[in-house]
Symmetry: C2
Subunit: 218 residues, 2 copies
């Protein structure tokens, strides 16, 4: 296993010989962050790939929904939003799972302590960054979690829509394994209604079909 702080120590010594001092710490912290977040590629989610070969990981999920920002932009509730900030929010929003793991959205027990675990993770991970970036990444994460701005409502809609679509397309394999009901999914998908009402039409249709096909318990 790699020890990022050991790598950074050796980088630091070499940087000291070549850069002006006040750039050094800043760059070190950014490189350490870049290495640290590689771990997100190892965090498994409950959602499976459309070919059903394996679970997807959080980095893949974040990539997919970031792409969805401009693929589905016309369906966002508010059309005058800062799309760049939406994407940044989506790329950053799952980083806390490096420490806190992915919590299955229908796992009541797991979700009880999720906020506390993620808060602790956010503190550790964002503090790797230089102070100004630490604040701006943390602000993106908070904005996403609080769902109070139009940008965060659209971001949250996509964060729910992508795994929903993959569940539907894989004939509800994960829903069936976990005895998920129509009611649970309807409740969770309200977020799509808030941020992207036209996509919500599609979601309703898929939910009806999923119940009929027995992908979901009625």
């Amino acid at each position: 296993m790699l020890n990022p702080s050991k790598v950074m120590e050796s980088i630091s010594v070499k940087l000291n010989q070549n850069l002006i001092p006040d750039q050094i710490q800043r760059l070190e912290q950014q490189i350490e962050f870049m290495i640290e977040i590689d771990k997100l590629k190892q965090i498994s989610r409950k959602t499976i790939l459309t070919d059903r070969s394996r679970e997807e990981n959080s980095a893949e999920h974040s990539w997919h929904i970031a792409m969805a920002v401009f693929l589905f932009s016309e369906y966002a509730q508010d059309q005058g939003i800062d799309w760049y900030r939406v994407i940044k929010m989506l790329l950053v929003h799952d980083l806390v799972e490096i420490d806190a793991g992915d919590t299955y959205c229908y796992d009541r027990q797991g979700r009880q302590y999720q906020a506390r675990r993620e808060e602790k993770a956010a503190k550790r991970i964002f503090e790797i960054l230089p102070p100004d970036q630490s604040r701006s990444f943390r602000a993106l994460w908070d904005e996403f979690e609080n769902r109070e701005t139009p940008e965060s409502r659209y971001a949250n809609a996509l964060d729910r829509f992508q795994p929903f679509l993959q569940n539907y397309v894989t004939e509800g394999q994960v829903w069936r394994e976990n005895n998920i009901t129509r009611r649970q999914v309807m409740e969770r998908m309200q977020t799509v209604f808030d941020g992207a009402p036209l996509l919500w039409n599609l979601v309703k249709l898929f939910i009806d079909d999923a119940v009929q096909e027995k992908y979901l318990a009625g």
Copy 2:
């Protein structure tokens, strides 16, 4: 294995009953695209994860460099660029690998036919989209490939920097396996100099160290 066109056929029938006709085809195409690109999560690259457990895939790579856009933005050669377009370019740039596969950057034979394979892939994949989006996604891909705008130069710099960093941090495991030389890496990293000259300082330093540590052939 999932058959996306069969899924879309069934979706189509259901949509027809619920949406106005001119929205239907457009939404169908967008959903089909969203499902199609899931395949990028199965395209392996030569770069390994920092914990050396496996190769990374192209979706993970795209996520990592999209994040790098705002992590390293202060090092971009041109500070007045459209950062949102840089991110879109990076999220889209590897989609052609769904058909064309990842070509190792030091594989001369493979690279000979790479352009033709990728051109064919771009045609098929972007044409899944509604015409206006098909054009805009294709334009992003072309812009990235041509490296003529400041946005694309910064995007290309990050596309080279991230795997370079992972190679360095894993003690050049993949470089060593493929007998890669200092000269090859220096040549490939010129792109970092063009798009993010301050990061290039770091790259040079790491290359010197990589040679000294025998991660790279001198």
